[in-house]
Structure formats: C-alpha cells, structure tokens
Symmetry: C2
Subunit: 455 residues, 2 copies
Amino acid sequence: MDNSEKEILMELLRGCIAEKKVKMLREVFDEYNVVDMSELVAELSVEEALFVFKTLKKEVSSEIFSYLSHEKQESLIELLTGPEIQSILNNLYSDDIVDFIEEMPANLVEHILKSASQSQREEINRLLSYEANSAGSIMSIDFVQLKEKDTVSEAIEKVRKQGKVAETISYCYITDSKKKLKGYLPFRSLLYAQNDDIIEDIMDTDLIFVRTSDDQEIAAQQIQKYDITAIPVVNDEDCLVGIITVDDILDVINEEATEDIQLMNAITPIEDTYMETGVIKMYKSRIIWLLILMISATFTGQIMAHYEEVLSQYVILSVFIPMLMDAAGNAGNQASTMIIRALAMGELKPKHILSVWWKEIRIAFLCGLTMGAVNLVRILIFMHQVDMKTSLIVSLTVFVTVCLAKMVGSTLPIVAVKLKQDPAVMAGPLITTIVDALALITYFMLVTKLLIPFL
Amino acid sequence: MDNSEKEILMELLRGCIAEKKVKMLREVFDEYNVVDMSELVAELSVEEALFVFKTLKKEVSSEIFSYLSHEKQESLIELLTGPEIQSILNNLYSDDIVDFIEEMPANLVEHILKSASQSQREEINRLLSYEANSAGSIMSIDFVQLKEKDTVSEAIEKVRKQGKVAETISYCYITDSKKKLKGYLPFRSLLYAQNDDIIEDIMDTDLIFVRTSDDQEIAAQQIQKYDITAIPVVNDEDCLVGIITVDDILDVINEEATEDIQLMNAITPIEDTYMETGVIKMYKSRIIWLLILMISATFTGQIMAHYEEVLSQYVILSVFIPMLMDAAGNAGNQASTMIIRALAMGELKPKHILSVWWKEIRIAFLCGLTMGAVNLVRILIFMHQVDMKTSLIVSLTVFVTVCLAKMVGSTLPIVAVKLKQDPAVMAGPLITTIVDALALITYFMLVTKLLIPFL
C-alpha cells in the first residue's frame, strides 16, 4: 500500500467513524490486510480507535491490537471493559499476550489479570515468569499435539480442531501420556499417509528442541541450522510446553544483530526503537562507555607526556599522531569486526585461534606494507617540510602498528569468548584505545631509537 | 547432537563405508537428521563421500548435497556421472540448484548443464540470469498453484500432487489462465472449507508480493512486516514466477546485518565466511578503506602543521590530542550507529531528521557536560603539571567536540540516504576522520582565542 492509497483509506476510515457507518467499517477491514489497517488505526485518536475496536469482529480487533505500539495498547486497555479485555486475550496467541503485558505498567497488568479467566491468569503468570530472552519467554503455547497411537484420520481431525488456535500447523508434535515429547510430523506427511496409518509409525524421532531456560539465540541457531519453521520447547522434565515459530526468530536475529552493533560501537544495548527511546535512557546507554574510554585515554596522555621533551624539540613529529592513531584504530577494528561477526554467526570457534593468527599475520603484512609505501609517497608529495629520514620512520611506524593492531583486533574477541564474555563488548570499544596506545609507544620508540640519534 | 555422539557416529560411518555395509549405511542416514549427517559427510574424504552418495536413496543424497560447502560440492560433481548429476538436479529445490551452480567454475557448470534435461537447462539458465541479490535470484519455482474455479476438493488434490516438490504448502497461490497472480490461500483455510466451495470465493485478494527485480531486502522487509512464511514473486507482466520462503529470508537478514557491520567498520563487504575467504581477498576488502582513510588524514596532519608554532611553545597541549580525538570519534560513532541501524530496520525515515536533531542535541548536551566535568576532575587528580586554565580549556573542548560529533554522526547517515547512498558506507568509516578534524580545529581555536592570550 503506497502513501496516497493510505491517505484515501484514512479519510474513508475517519468518515466511517464520524458517521458511525458500522457495516462499511467492517467491510473495509475485511478487504485490506490487517497489518496495513493496524498502521492506520495507530494514527487514529484513542476515541476513534476505541470505536473501531468495539465495532469490529473480536478476532479482527484482537489481531489489530497485537500490531499496535505499546503506548497505544496501554491507552486502549485503560478504556476497555473487563469482558472486552477477556475477549482480546481469548483471540491472541500466548506469545503476543506476554509480549504486550510485559510492557504494561503494574496497575494495568492488574486490570488485565482481573479480566482474565482463571486458567488464562495461571497461564499468563507462568509465561511471565520465564527469564527475559530465554526460549520460554518467547514461546507460544498454541500448537498442535498428537498421540503416538492416533491414526492419520484421527490426527487430521485433531489438526482441524487444534489448528484453529495453533500458531502453525506445519509441524504436529507427538507426546506420551506424561506430555513427554516423543516425535514430530510435518503436516505435509499426513497428506501422503493412509487414513489408517498409525502416527507412531510415520513420525520422525530425530528430535530437535530447546529447553525453556535456553537462550533465545540457541533457538534461533537451531531453526537456521535445520531449516525448520518451528521448534518445540520442553521443560526440565522433557515435557512439551510450547513452540517457537520462525517469525519470532526473525525478531531475535534482528535484536541480536542490533545488540552486537551497539556493543561494538560503545553503546550499552537498548531494546526499544530509536524514536521510542527517551533522551535520558539514550544518554545513560552512551555515557558509560564514553567515560570509561575517556578515562582510559589517560594512558595515551601519559605516553605523550613521557615524551614531552622529544615532542618539544621535534614538533613536526606530532603532526603524524592523528594519522597513526586512526590507521591503527581502523586496522584493529577491521580485524575485530570480522572475528566478532564470525563468532556470532557460529562460523568460527575459539579453537581456530591459530589459523586466525596465521591468516591475520599475512593480511596484516600486506596491509602494513601497502600503507607504509603509500604513506611515504603521500608525505613526499604533500609535506615538503618533512625530511626523508622522518618520512621513513613514520612509514615504518605505520607498518608496525598496522601489524600489531590486526593481531590485537583478532585476538581480543577470541580471548573474550574464552573468558565467557561477550566478544562485542570486550573487544569492540576497547580495541581503539589499546591500539592507540600501541601506536604511540611504537612511534616514540622508533623515533628515539632510530631517528633522533641520527638527526 | 553433541561432539562425542558425533565421533561415535563418524566411526560407525567410516566402518560401514570401509566394509561396504550398504544396508546399515542407509539405516543410519534414515535414523539421524539430514543436517547432522551432512556435517559428517563433509568430513569424509571425497572417495568416501562418493560411496555414500552412490549408496543412498537419491532424495537423501540430494538433500545432503545441498548442505555441503561449495568446495565439497565441486569435488563431488567432478566425479559424478551425467545421470547421477541429473538425479541430484531432479531432487533439489530450484533455489538450491541455482545456489550451488553460481559458485561452480565454468567447466563444471558446462558439465552440469550437459547432464540436465532440456527443460531443466532452460529453467536453470533463466534463474541464473537474475541479478545478484534480486528477489529473482533467491526465489524458488517450486510452489503450489491453484485456479480460481477449482473446488476445495480439487485444490486439496492439487496440493497433494504439487506438494511433493513444493518448498512449502503453507500458502497456495491462485493464478488465471495467463498465470497472473489473483490471490492466495493459506493451506489451513482449505482444512475448514467445504469440499464444494470455490477457491475464488474463499481466497484472499489483498496480495503481498515482490517483483523479480526487487532487492532481496524488500522481500525480507515484507515477510517481516506481514508475519508470513513465504512471499510470491511476479515478473513485469504480473505473472507468478516463484516464491521466496522464510528460511531464505533468515539468510538475507544475516547477510545484510553482516554487510552493514563490515561497511560501518571500513571493510568492503565479503559474502563468504571468515574461514572460507583467502588472504588476498581479505586484503583487498580491507586495504581500500585503510588507504582512503589514511590519505584523508593528511587533512588532520595539515591542521596540526598549521598550529606547529603553538604546539612547540606549549608542548603540554599535544598530550590531550589522543584523548580528544578518541572522545570525538566515540561520540560520533555512537550517534551514527544508532541512526544507521534505525534506518536499516525501517524504524527511521529521512523525513524524521528534525526530531533526530532535537533528540541528539539534548543527548549531546548531557554527554558533553558529563564528560567535560569528569575530564576536569581527571586532569586535576592525575596530571599535576597542567594548570587550571588549560584544564578548563581542554574540558570546554571536550564539551564542544562531543556536541559537534553527535550532530555530525546523526546527520551524515541521513544525508547519505537522501543522496541514495548506503548510510553505512558513507557515514561509518568517514565519521571518525571528520570528527577528528573537527576536534582538532575546535581545540586549537579555543586554545589560541581563549588560552594563549591570557598565559
């Protein structure tokens, strides 16, 4: 739907609401995609949205509700009556219920739980008790469950019944009388089986599953590795308690990538979107690393102070400091970026450290050599005030620091994993500070040992 | 499957191969998950793998083949006969065929195409002709297709037939006699319909689709936005030519995140994994930006050279340069990181630039103020050789550069989008160089205007 289509529809929507054209309103919502319509509802006033909610079929308004922002959900919940809330709860998947309740203020959670039925309340409380970012916290309890002794025709009948509320029917899960997970069956297989085949005989038993306490990342990795669209979740007693579907995994993958990107750039991760996050929260997520990195720069300051005399005699030397620091920082970041990402994607394991070193040494040598040479040419062309000896020393420093930076950049993330730390947080922001110090030390050592004695 | 399980299975596998225990080999492969088994096959020698291939049922060996690395695929293809290759092609999904052919050297592509049937050859050539990273290049042509006038029972029969080769049966697509896409139907709806219902009456017509020429990212965005597990792909005549399933979208999302992370850290994107990429390719992907950034550092060198006299008189001033540059770089990177990611996730549009500025100004003010204050304390505690006036000027510089860096960092990515450039490439690596120069200029201006006249 493009913007002009949206505007026309919005006008129609507002007209229907103003003139209370109930039938037409329902028809519009039937005709268009619910995701697109929820974008329009998000732009309505709370009163208008409330009218829409009370007018539409419960299934439709519940689905729309699940696509609204947390703020909008909050203001609607405040105005809805108990029975209305209950009917929304009835029509939402369990993971969507948990999703929106988690973001509500305490008084509204109470209002919601009061409106829920006894069994709903127990279920919600149980789901809310799983740790954040665990498989349990993102799973849905709406899935298709079969028994080993079911015949195919009984199974199809069960799918038909349970499928009305299940998040997916692509996989059916087979459990025993104690709810222990015994096998699974792609629904597709039911299509090709004989009506009197027994599920036990045709089900797959090479089970792929996660536990409620596993990190959501593990669920994401399994789903990607095995090319499946849903994964069962079992509790400590191996009983099937839920499933995680691939649409939730898409969110997990995006979240994890965002988190890594933020950590690598010295930001304490924020889960909300940029626009939703307030200034104070944003400030807090940034200031911590800025301060840590500024204070650790005391170290580079002390290196500079240590060589104050050299600098005061040969001021021209300070001209190259920004370039050397940037070159080292960039070279180190490149190496750490490649390693951090490869670790995150599971392509690389800490045991590969030797082959990483061997690869990075060769890359570093080539990069250092090229940069040293280009730097020499650059100085000779653009900076006539610099003599040949100094130019050579600066280029040598470029070569050495690029090599050092690449080694540090590729080693730190792997060390972080060995220390059971997140490589992105350990390695990302700290690399620049470390290689800056290395660049300065190298520079001043080469200058005092190789240059000054011969000037 | 854990490592010890894997080792035992590997031994069993090698035993079966050495003693040519065909039946047992087949049973092992039937018992375990094909993804796990393909990991084991990847570790076999080519001769062993070849024996496995010739022994297993064609469906199984084809599936195993699709999970092997490109190198392994290449060495196997070289040894397989024409009919064997054809049977692999028959049993692979079209997107997997294209995937592996794209990576083969020209002589092997010829070998493969010669082994393919006439219709296969035409199909492969057509799929190979789509531009890299377009929706056409990742789509599969194996989907379930119905006609508007089909009854539900006819439709179920068609699903049963076409479903054997289709990538997914979760959605059926309805086309007219000219293959134009008219609607879609979740398979689940067929379960609840009456046998003599007409498809036309029950299908959904709010079509979500992409075109073959659209970027794969658009397919990823649509699938995420509308929470669907497959999206149809149409050509310029609106005819249905393929579908993209969510498992391929998982790869796209990971690829795009990796690409952004690499671009933001001054690396020309590499699609292969870290271990698969050779030293020369890695060198090429890194050296370009290193050189660009080093040469652009000539600019910061010139600023330093311009104030050479000031630096030679007050050497202590140079001690703060590394810290100022790092603080500016970090502050700028934080802002650009948040904006680049929000743009990539579609949470932020260039039209939001004013609210971004208003938010960043306030964050910058808070961060700058905190850092300026902490810096003052830091100097007073750790650096007794620095006088109060200089400390104040340095802290003022921290405040101003942090503010400038945040504004530049948040503006550049948005400008990049307006110029139809990738924000990650325009903004990421360049930000540090730009804010470094800004930090130096600010520092020397404040020093010459506010400090030196009063010393």
